[in-house]
Homo-oligomer: 483 residues x 2
Amino acid sequence: MNNKDTIHMSINEFKENGYKVIDWIADYYENIESYPVLSTIKPGELRKSLPKNPPKDGENFNNILTDMDDKIIPGVTHWQSPNFFAYFPCNATGPAILGDLLSSGLGIQGMLWASSPACTELESHVLDWLVDMLHLPEKFKSDSFGGGVIQDTASSATLCALIAAREKISNGKINESGFDNSIRVYTSMEAHSSIEKAVKIAGIGSKNIRLIEVDQDFAMNPIKLREAINKDIKNRKIPAFVCATIGTTSSSAIDPLNEIGEICNEFGIWLHVDAAMAGSASICPEYRFIHDGIDYADSYCFNPHKFLLTNFDCSCLYVSDREALIKSLTINPEYLKTEVSQSDAVFDYRDWQVPLGRRFRALKLWSVIRYYGINGIQSHIRGHIKSAKFLSDLITEDNRFEVMAPTVLNLVCFRYRESNQFNKLLLNELNKSGELYLVHTKLNNKYTIRFSIGQTNTTKDHVLNAWKFILKKTEELERTMVK
Amino acid sequence: MNNKDTIHMSINEFKENGYKVIDWIADYYENIESYPVLSTIKPGELRKSLPKNPPKDGENFNNILTDMDDKIIPGVTHWQSPNFFAYFPCNATGPAILGDLLSSGLGIQGMLWASSPACTELESHVLDWLVDMLHLPEKFKSDSFGGGVIQDTASSATLCALIAAREKISNGKINESGFDNSIRVYTSMEAHSSIEKAVKIAGIGSKNIRLIEVDQDFAMNPIKLREAINKDIKNRKIPAFVCATIGTTSSSAIDPLNEIGEICNEFGIWLHVDAAMAGSASICPEYRFIHDGIDYADSYCFNPHKFLLTNFDCSCLYVSDREALIKSLTINPEYLKTEVSQSDAVFDYRDWQVPLGRRFRALKLWSVIRYYGINGIQSHIRGHIKSAKFLSDLITEDNRFEVMAPTVLNLVCFRYRESNQFNKLLLNELNKSGELYLVHTKLNNKYTIRFSIGQTNTTKDHVLNAWKFILKKTEELERTMVK
């Protein structure tokens, strides 16, 4: 963008269009509750409405905005609707959107400290802030032997932690010579599918994960973990990595870190803690119990893009031994050598992640923390957890339903005490209505509806209205079933 | 963001602050040439200026903008300055910034088709457009057995292609059982470091890459490739993956795809083509020769965030056999199952990448293609390549300098015909001045300065002025050296 007569958008044109986009977003949030939460388009429907060929000549930017309304919006499932209760939240906020816009505007690439020092230093600084905000161990701070880094998602964070663990236990031999097929990885049966994905990518092989049984609350059973480790050692395998989950996807179960940590410590196994969803709750002192035993962790991940008001993507990975991580991911070709990098005075974050390049993602996180302050974020998180307990109580009071797992934080798992088929039909009717969006899971092999509360603008009223709507649809379905 | 009395940014406040951020970005581009291109801050300098603790109470958003000017800007290396000639370009443009802003505003997460159909369909559509725009093989289109997907970077794209190749050659056994240490990977000595990084992450082991010798133009020597493959087969190893480079990082060398492709075909080896930087040039018919032999490729990657006017991150990966890719990366837990996914009617892009979640990155690419049209992009790319040839000619005319590699596209590699030390000092003086930013490489073991032309607003005049400045600094240095 410049002010000369070129093919590029002029600075004035950028301002004009920029204001329009800001207005478009403002209008979107103004009207968001009028759209069906789950998009109703059929496969291929959007593509059919688009020109088969790219334009030869440039178009006016206004055309994009017109098509946003006419073509894109019908194909959007509205994650930012306060009636979105599916999956996990992916919360966007004003300060995060604008922080991200600043990053896009600057257009810098922070692969090395030198390639934009501000990108690296702000990131380290804000991630150190978060160690204090979440009461995480000091060993995760950048002035210790550890440190934090922003990844795109918890999947990538898990992969990086796994690679570091793999290298540490093999003294770098796997990096050099490849696998000997003896590494073993442990996580609970309720852990996120990204653990298996990471194990596959890292060449360990999905057969070599042990999915440890869970207790009645869907948390990892440490006795079973110890048994699995002992069995593998007996078979001359090398237990290398345990992934504990704080807030499982299906039911928000909290694995017992103290017991798991003691076992990892005893056997010299890397303990990774995946708190992608739940970790943010630890900003409130009353929810810090979820991290009891976190001192045992070698690495830890939580996603501000889930529950800490920061736009996707923003996943924070911490390690207690940054050398292990860096050694496993570093490459240093001539064209990336800088004097300061070779002096150890700085972090080059390219060695902390899979990609080489990186956006200035710390800006949005910084913007959120400053705009809300600790008090603001605490009050937001408390509100959502209270709404979840409120809903859980409402469900418990109705004998037709059962709550399927403890409502620890912001996720409520429930089902109609009937066939899986009834619940499946109910969920389908609810989502088809466009009034809200929920997804299912299976708990104890029963079809269970997950009600996840976390979108920025969701209030207790949205939750109450959703519950009333669920009751209405349930009753309609009860009548149909009776016929 | 909403209009109620909450802790969140109200819609009006968002508009007000949004306009300010747009203005801030406009001012940034207005003044960008007044900043030193390479940041001059010392390690730790930014952090020292930031409060040690996060704020308890929220702050006004204006504080962020004030700190952007006072604290962040001095720590920025200005990738969007037209005098940035370092590394590769990372070009930002008005339509891309605004497309990205639309994506941040919508705040959707496109892991599955159903989780926002528009995100998946627009991506497939625009990536099909690009097949035509770059004259890539039809097998990369979504209506064939292949298809395209947006990744963050070429590093991740290479990793995904490698995993798919690994699984295809082992019939899925590595995914399941882990490595048996017999897989071999081939790329040239001039290939990007991300190939080695991917090989390490995938557990293949860096010892198991064969770095094939290059010819006088730094392109892979296919005779040496064949020799290496034959040797490995003799030793009962399994040649699985060749990565050819179109436009190497050091010198923009073009590997001979026809010869390499024939060898891959003969031995049943997966051919990945990394055209991260150079691929975009193929939008101009006169540069399509760089892709001669591309029909042999099993996968292909180029980065619109380098040379196609689209903000980082945006790397396009194409595969000819999407099943191979999907099989190697799929995981399907209960909470991610949707009816439409199980019907094969749609793509679920989570299975085409390392992370689970994904942003709506197609919006910025769509916005760029429509705003510029094919003609606009062609004229932009032609301008930069012409500037590179212009510079290359100027250098050739001056006997004190030598051009170190053919100037095929937008990269000029040169050195002062003197000691490495002289060139190192020269580069240091140039970068210290703040007038421009260049980085070095080694070619034939000689310290070489890379002049990479690609920032959106770089014109022939910027290149000419930079060259005059290089001459001035050279002469100053010559005088010092004589003393």
